[in-house]
């Protein structure tokens, strides 16, 4: 791999990382508005408020960057980066097109799982270092939630890895067949629910529960650092949606996938992220105990059952 190719791949991954979350964010603005009988942003950029998030970004840049006097300075400043960068790493490993991914590693499934769990550390750092009780409670809730929901995610992904017989995302997409839609359905549901919980998105937004915790771990953040946390949230939606597409919906599989594979991949991912938005609009927030109950009494057993089913399927040779 030449240096030029490395630079090109890095730039492409970064561009996708900066554009796709904005697309999802804008889609959330508009879809949520219409689901609530509103129009959403209509002015920024002229046509149906398409530049609303750009305007928001400009606004965030102009704001003062405040670090509370009692805060743990370095941890506080580092937290947004810790939240943001792992999703960039995870996004780079996803196979976009037959034989195309920004970063090709043999064990990309493991890399993606590891990276997405690191992203959650940013929230913990922010909550701990802010010297604010709301931030701290938010951080603690986030920690409890991540411990609970990391397990179903890993189990669900393990089931697909077992079915495809590979730890490489590209290999799993190659091995995918429409039969998986039914065979791996329980695992898919578990993953989708646990992914939304991992992203701390409604209805699993107990750590940010704005009615009780102001903004959870992000309470003390202003300006660009706050914007980075928001970007991390939407980048997380992108990564989780695309990962779901890769593992359960066949990634770039589709008509004319030799030429249009990347389009199928992005389209499926976009639809999944719309589901994530839809769920946010439709459902109320779970209470902390309901949240834990759901993880341990429903998702983990379901994921284990899926793993069993997959094991049987692999041995029998479905």
């Amino acid at each position: 791999m030449t240096l030029l190719e490395v630079v090109l791949r890095a730039v492409a991954a970064l561009a996708a990382f900066l554009v796709l979350p904005l697309l999802v964010g804008q889609a959330e603005h508009k879809v949520m508005a219409h689901m609530q009988g509103r129009l959403g942003p209509m002015y920024a950029g002229g046509f149906h408020g398409w530049a609303q998030l750009v305007a928001d970004g400009v606004k965030f840049v102009q704001k003062e960057d405040i670090v509370p006097a009692a805060a743990d300075r370095w941890v506080f400043r580092l937290a947004p980066a810790v939240a943001l960068v792992p999703y960039l790493v995870a996004l780079a490993t996803l196979p976009v097109h037959p034989g195309v991914a920004a970063v090709e590693v043999p064990g990309s499934v493991l890399l993606v799982l590891a990276a997405t769990s690191v992203g959650a550390l940013g929230t913990l750092m922010a909550g701990w270092s802010s010297a604010n009780k709301y931030s701290l409670i938010g951080g603690l809730r986030a920690a409890a939630q991540l411990v609970s929901y990391e397990l179903p995610v890993v189990l669900a992904v393990a089931s697909v890895a077992l079915a495809g017989g590979s730890l490489s995302l590209a290999g799993l997409v190659e091995a995918w067949s429409p039969w998986w839609l039914l065979w791996q359905l329980p695992g898919a549901v578990v993953f989708l629910v646990a992914a939304v919980a991992e992203l701390q998105r409604p209805p699993f937004d107990m750590p940010v529960a704005d009615a009780e915790l102001v903004m959870g771990a992000w309470t003390e953040y202003t300006g660009l650092r706050f914007a980075f946390f928001l970007l991390a949230e939407y980048a997380g939606i992108v990564v989780m949606s695309l990962l779901f597409t890769t593992l359960w919906l066949g990634g770039w599989h589709g008509p004319f996938s030799d030429a249009l594979g990347w389009l199928w991949f992005l389209l499926k991912g976009f639809v999944v992220s719309l589901v994530v938005v839809w769920v946010r609009v439709a459902w109320p927030r779970l209470r902390e105990d309901q949240l834990q109950r759901m993880a341990w009494l429903w998702l983990v057993p379901l994921a284990l059952g899926q793993l069993l089913l997959t094991g049987v399927g692999v041995v029998v040779g479905w």
Partner: protein
């Protein structure tokens, strides 16, 4: 539809409610939104909207009834009497009121409409125009030229109901003239019907 029995808290199973939430939001998303794009699209106001009070200056006789009936005294009227010389030789000079100032302070006005009800000469009207916000509250005191401009926005009066009685003026015109009946002699007396006065634009010509 859920057939599960409701538990002690009145819920009927978790899943149907969850699906119902998704269905409701999806249905709402597919319907037109409720947003009124106000500055871009003018709102459709109900008839008889009370936006602002317009003044038809020609009809005002400075009788002060509106100013006196106003509950919060927000109408200011200044006038003076003017003597009109007699039109005929040896005739009597006449006096009429000339309106110098008619102002409504919309920072005090509570839009009760009593002034409009009480005006005997139909000089005040409701206009649906509402876009006259000001930065300084003192700028809400509007003089008669501004009040007159709003006359253009006054809608025509709503049509009468199908079965409503005729307006008094029309009924008076249509009433059969007295003395044309069978009892009295036909045409014995001139009809005493009240007829609307014919208003002439030009003053009657001087015979001299």
């Amino acid at each position: 539809m859920s057939t599960e029995p409701k538990d002690e808290r009145g819920r009927d199973g978790g899943l149907p409610g969850v699906l119902k939430g998704l269905a409701t939001t999806a249905r709402t998303a597919l319907r037109p939104s409720h947003t009124h794009e106000y500055p871009d699209v003018a709102p459709t106001l109900p008839p008889r909207s009370r936006g602002v009070i317009a003044l038809l200056e020609e009809n005002c006789t400075s009788c002060m009834l509106c100013a006196r009936e106003c509950p919060d005294w927000c109408i200011y009227i200044d006038s003076h009497k003017e003597t009109i010389p007699a039109t005929t030789e040896g005739g009597r000079e006449r006096q009429r009121n000339v309106l110098d100032r008619f102002a409504i302070d919309f920072s005090l006005c509570m839009y009760c409409g009593i002034c409009i009800e009480v005006c005997p000469f139909d000089a005040l009207f409701w206009s649906p125009q509402f876009e006259y916000a000001e930065v300084d509250i003192r700028d809400l005191l509007h003089e008669k030229d501004r009040l007159g401009e709003w006359m253009a926005t006054v809608p025509p009066p709503p049509a009468l109901d199908e079965s409503a009685a005729e307006p008094a003026e029309v009924a008076a015109v249509n009433r059969p003239a007295r003395g044309t009946g069978l009892v009295g002699g036909a045409g014995a007396r001139p009809p005493r019907t009240v007829r609307p006065k014919v208003v002439q634009k030009d003053p009657p010509e001087d015979p001299s």
